[in-house]
């Protein structure tokens, strides 16, 4: 029965490719299968469907049918919000105490940072104190919860926990960090620990699920390495060094068609391309290139054809940077699209830059072409947009908005 439910859940996720059930969207790579997006917007921006007040936070927007989920901060509490996609009106809220612990340095924003995960049955949300809650989708009632730091002694993170949960079969997998439980899988139904493995220190980056020559793997960028894990058992399949000044790997790794995995970090980390193959049951890792010219901080990477795009840099200009995905050579840098998070749909880049501009652009090895731009959000706008059909959801640290991109 449990297995059947899991299969149904997983099938639902795959079928609903026009939903946005988790951080980075249906494919966890900020691409959407949506079509029919306009090639330009009026100067004032695309048609606004609604806007509502929201509190602090960089947590992204998850969409499941008529309901969206995100998190925000209110005073010393963190709120998981369920709101109607049609109006933005609150359906329910779940509140958790989240006073900063001593030693936390939240000057870049108090969070929450992680994006909720929605499955067929429940919503999974985690705040800056690594308190994971499983909530009933209809009511917001807590079904189970775990304090990943207190219960399991996870790696402390002085800017707050930021790893977005990921679903695998009947489990939800979390990066916790620390000896014996660097990665953990919890049963979606009751929160029981299904497995806990590995000794790596944690980092803020969220994990992804990939298929390497037919084998399912969870890829997680940990404190000083990128690792491949068997998502059924937590067993280590491979690891490869990826270090930064502060054990701070933040950007989401990217898996692409020709068995190439890209990882990128600021803080002197740079980017690497790893070619993965499973040969006789063992994963072979070949580093194709490594460059310090692409240092994605809190954003994401995108590959279109054989070009890799990302905002390179942390607190400086962080221009949009294009690399040859095969060689790692810089093709161009363009600061007209400053430090941004973005998604790609219908051949177009939809970007939110930290200054608060929403941009529609095309990218190619030859350069960036901004088609339309409107200043709709306020700095620092660090939250990536979410797209469902032709409806775009964006937020900053004050408001949540929906736009029609047709």
């Amino acid at each position: 029965m449990k297995l059947l439910a899991a299969l149904l859940a997983s099938a639902a996720l795959q079928a609903a490719s026009l939903e946005w059930p988790q951080f980075a969207g249906p494919h966890r790579n900020f691409t959407s299968d949506a079509r029919g997006l306009a090639n330009s917007w009026p100067a004032s921006g695309p048609k606004k469907l609604w806007s509502r007040d929201l509190g602090e936070g960089y947590s992204g927007i998850t969409v499941d049918g008529a309901v969206l989920y995100t998190m925000y901060r209110r005073g010393s509490d963190e709120v998981t919000l369920a709101a109607a996609t049609g109006t933005g009106k609150t359906i329910w809220e779940h509140t958790e105490k989240a006073s900063f612990r001593s030693g936390m340095a939240m000057e870049n924003g108090p969070g929450p940072h992680a994006t909720p995960l929605v499955t067929a049955d429940a919503v999974y949300a985690v705040g800056i104190l690594a308190h994971l809650v499983c909530l009933d989708k209809a009511t917001g009632k807590v079904l189970w919860s775990h304090d990943l730091w207190r219960e399991f002694n996870g790696t402390p993170m002085d800017r707050g926990y930021s790893v977005s949960p990921i679903a695998w079969k009947n489990t939800v997998i979390m990066k916790v960090g620390g000896a014996g439980h660097a990665l953990m899988a919890f049963n979606q139904k009751d929160g029981k620990v299904v497995w806990q493995k590995q000794d790596f220190a944690n980092s803020p980056s969220s994990p992804i699920l990939i298929k390497v020559d037919g084998q399912d793997q969870l890829v997680a960028v940990m404190g000083d390495e990128v690792v491949g894990i068997d998502p059924d058992t937590g067993g280590l399949l491979w690891k490869h060094p990826h270090t930064t000044s502060w054990h701070l790997n933040i950007a989401l790794p990217l898996w692409t068609a020709d068995n190439t995995l890209f990882v990128s970090s600021a803080y002197n980390g740079g980017s690497a391309a790893l070619e993965l193959h499973v040969v006789n049951g063992k994963t072979q890792v070949k580093e194709l290139w490594n460059t310090n010219r692409m240092r994605v901080h809190i954003g994401n990477l995108l590959r279109v054809g054989d070009t890799l795009y990302g905002s390179s840099g942390d607190f400086g200009p962080a221009p949009l940077t294009a690399l040859d995905a095969k060689t790692g050579k810089v093709l161009w840098q363009d600061r007209t699209l400053p430090k941004a998070t973005f998604l790609y749909a219908d051949g177009k880049l939809i970007a939110v830059d930290e200054d608060g501009n929403l941009s529609l652009a095309t990218v190619s090895p030859a350069g960036l072409k901004v088609l339309s731009r409107a200043e709709l959000l306020r700095s620092n706008a660090w939250t990536a947009p979410s797209l469902v059909g032709t409806t775009l959801y964006v937020r900053d640290r004050h408001s949540l908005m929906a736009f029609d991109l047709r």
Binding site: Y267, G313, G316, P317, A318, Q333, K339
Partner: protein, 413 residues
């Protein structure tokens, strides 16, 4: 340039006769660049023979691997010198300007463990050497101060000190036969003058620890003084005795005082991350000194980049707007213009002839017209494949570029 001419003359007048003869003997057609920010320690290459038109591409004359670090090259008596790290050793290399070939190389063990906050910078040398009177003085990242014979490389003397959080970055200064550096670490330190020939300590001022800014020497109200940003102050110290003449409390986040001061007439110009640009006038009343802030500009703020003054324009790079070029009027601090934001992480600037040479850490060299009207870049050249934090240095009509590990000579003609 007028305000600096007297300073330049004074420095040269202090040279011994053999030194002058040595300079004449090695006299290259190019002007020397013997220290941090050039002959006058102000980032100005007045005699740079700029091309009639800046070409589409620069020609790479040579490129050699010299080692890690952001220490700028210096040029004196027909040789280029670099101070770098190779593994656990710090190396001083003399190179031929025409080919980049090594003339001599000396090294010493300098194991160094970085503060995690600084690992992005690398473990290489940050301070720029100074060549004076046939000697080269180097100051390594862990605090090793050395003197070598500039012609032969023969070690003369060496002393070891500590280093602050982000490593030693203040470049030694030579004044009247004394090498002046800010030695020490986070908790204690001393601005110290050593006899250039022997390394014997001549004086030290222990009122504060070192920052990352480099000292300059100026003459104000007839008194020769060393002026620098220390860890938590701006100070003027007698160049003759090391006595504190005046000081102003000056704080930046994580004690990151980095900007080298510049002199404009009788005022000194300072800035630091999060702070405005200020002009300070030290005033002498008998034996006592006071200071007066003659202007401040809150539009811009300098972090790691030091400004240049030429043609009555103060040009610099502000940390505001994620990196912005600006031009102020040095007489009253009025903002003449600011560029668009997001230009770069930092900028190493040299005023060369009628242009500003701007090397940004993304390995782009921008040539901009010295304009009181707007940021007017003429050309932008990609000059390396790794980060470029050292200053560009003019050599004849060429430009030396130190990247993370290599030194290259580019020719615009």
């Amino acid at each position: 340039m007028a305000p600096f001419a007297s300073y330049h003359r004074t420095v040269r007048a202090s040279l011994t006769l053999p030194a002058i003869l040595a300079i004449l003997a090695f006299s290259a057609p190019a002007e020397d660049w013997p220290q941090w920010r050039g002959p006058h320690r102000d980032g100005v290459a007045a005699g740079f023979p700029e091309p009639k038109a800046w070409p589409e591409k620069l020609t790479l004359k040579w490129k050699v691997t010299v080692g890690e670090g952001h220490s700028s090259p210096v040029v004196a008596d027909g040789k280029i010198y670099t101070h770098t790290r190779q593994g656990d050793r710090e190396m001083v290399t003399a190179l031929r300007p025409d080919t980049g070939q090594t003339i001599w190389q000396q090294g010493y063990a300098a194991p160094y463990t970085m503060n995690p906050a600084a690992t992005t910078h690398g473990k290489g040398v940050k301070a720029t050497p100074v060549v004076e009177d046939g000697r080269i003085f180097t100051f390594g990242i862990s605090g090793i101060l050395s003197c070598f014979d500039a012609k032969t490389g023969k070690p003369q003397w060496r002393k070891e000190f500590g280093s602050p959080d982000f490593g030693v970055a203040n470049s030694p200064l030579v004044d009247r036969g004394r090498v002046i550096v800010f030695v020490g670490g986070n908790t204690e330190g001393a601005l110290t003058a050593f006899d250039a020939a022997t390394g014997a300590e001549k004086w030290s001022w222990k009122g504060d620890g070192p920052a990352y800014a480099s000292p300059i020497v100026v003459e104000i109200a007839g008194i020769r003084q060393v002026v620098t940003e220390s860890r938590n102050h701006i100070v003027g110290v007698s160049a003759a005795t090391g006595d504190l003449l005046w000081q102003i409390p000056y704080k930046t986040v994580y004690a990151q005082n980095i900007v080298t001061p510049v002199l404009y007439r009788d005022t000194l110009i300072f800035s630091g991350i999060g702070n405005p640009v200020i002009a300070v006038k030290p005033i002498k009343h008998g034996a006592e000194w006071s200071t007066e802030t003659t202007w401040q500009n809150k539009d811009v703020s300098m972090y790691m980049s030091s400004p240049v003054i030429g043609a009555d324009l103060l040009f610099g790079f502000s940390e505001r707007k994620r990196g912005q070029f600006f031009c102020l009027r040095p007489v009253d601090g009025a903002t003449l213009w600011t560029s668009e934001g997001r230009q770069a992480d930092s900028a190493a600037i040299v005023a060369a002839g009628s242009v500003w040479l701007i090397l940004t850490p993304d390995a782009n060299l921008t040539v901009a017209r010295q304009s009181d009207n707007a940021f007017e870049p003429l050309r932008k050249y990609s000059v390396a494949d790794s980060p470029t934090w050292a200053h560009p240095v003019v050599l004849g009509h060429g430009i030396l570029i130190k990247d993370a590990t290599n030194l290259a000579l580019w020719d615009p003609s």
